[in-house]
Symmetry: C2
Subunit: 231 residues, 2 copies
């Protein structure tokens, strides 16, 4: 299809498409004439990935570029691309990484690594998710200094169960090729994350209301609201 | 304590503290002289909340202000403060909310509400978490048009289990008063979220590697790396 049709089908203005092409976020089309190129379904899929990383994942364009660059690199090992694509999400500005040199950070990192080893999920030291986990442990210990890293066990169980269903779901894309599989994993990671986090917040509110309601003196109730027997 | 000691103990520069006081993020201290005030443990706790919402929650200062304003409002109902404090997180710029008027959005909202009702978590229509959940359903259906809302069931189970432990943990703060309880719920929501999301990403990478490794032709291995018998 021509760039005008690509714009129509994706809902993205031609000017933006040209910007993506210039910056390399979108791979070039097949040249059909000196100033024309033809685009295919893979371009539509790429545009959907960009939009989802932007809208749902909240990634800036430079982080998205890091992901797409890896997907386009010829001969890049699938596993490397996958790791790097997952790392691009949740990356912090470089100045935030300075903290990683502190003694407290290094000690917490050692604990987290031993814990991940123990649960059978040893991870790459440069993994962004591992860094966020270490940060979370340090932040939690500010209010609960004696919090053991094993407090993460219920999360491992829940995350493992959830991830199993998700990976099985997206791995259908593997038939299309390893690049498509990586794309599917990244998309699945981003798309399903808000499902869990939103439901967790809803659960927090529900449970807290119940606890607060039973612990607090009853608020006066406006008349005509009927009985509320819920605890 | 004086403002200089508050700065020392919190690690926040005096200029920033004065800015917080001016803006109302930090409640005023007890006036001890015409130009002196005394600050207590509640001020230290507030500063920790601000930092965590900022660093871990990624909230902008105006969203944090929305949370603290509610915590400071005299006589505000605890449940209202809790809902509003949770809503301030994950709020989008107003232009993003326009989409909520679309037919597709309204239909998805109806499905999500019926689902939440069914699992026993009916929620406020203005809840940010509910809106994010509706958005997620719409985004997922772009690639999987026939995805039923019941695909969220495993997430409800996982989120419910996780939230139960978390709420029990922070509700210890209830003895200190309802404002402290709300503060604790918000803090817990923000602090524990990266634990789950990070572990989920680690699980994604682990599981995907296994699937990719078993589905892909073996990559040539550099010599002297030893045997890798892991599937």
């Amino acid at each position: 299809m021509k760039v005008s049709e690509l714009s129509q089908r994706s809902g993205i203005p031609v000017a933006t498409l040209k910007y993506y092409l210039r910056e390399g976020l979108l791979p070039p089309g097949e040249r059909t004439a000196s100033n024309q190129a033809s685009y295919g379904e893979s371009h539509l899929r790429r545009l959907r990935l960009i939009r989802i990383l932007q809208d749902v994942g909240g990634l800036r364009l430079d982080a998205i570029h890091e992901v797409t660059r890896l997907l386009d690199e010829p001969g890049v090992e699938t596993m490397t691309a996958l790791g790097a694509a997952l790392d691009a999400q949740g990356k912090r500005p470089p100045e935030r990484e300075a903290i990683e040199a502190s003694d407290a950070w290094i000690a917490a990192a050692r604990e987290v690594d031993a814990f991940l080893e123990q649960v059978g999920w040893p991870t790459r030291s440069e993994s962004t998710a591992r860094k966020r986990l270490i940060e979370a442990l340090l932040a939690l210990r500010e209010s609960t200094p004696d919090l053991p890293v094993t407090a993460f066990f219920p999360y491992v169980r829940a995350a493992g169960e959830i991830a199993q269903g998700e990976v099985a779901h997206v791995m259908g894309a593997l038939e299309a090729g390893p690049a498509e599989a990586v794309e599917a994993v990244v998309m699945g990671t981003v798309l399903w994350e808000p499902v869990f986090t939103s439901l967790r917040r809803i659960a927090h509110e529900q449970l807290s209301r119940r606890v607060l309601r039973s612990a607090q003196p009853q608020q006066p109730r406006p008349k005509g609201q009927g009985q509320d027997t819920q605890q």
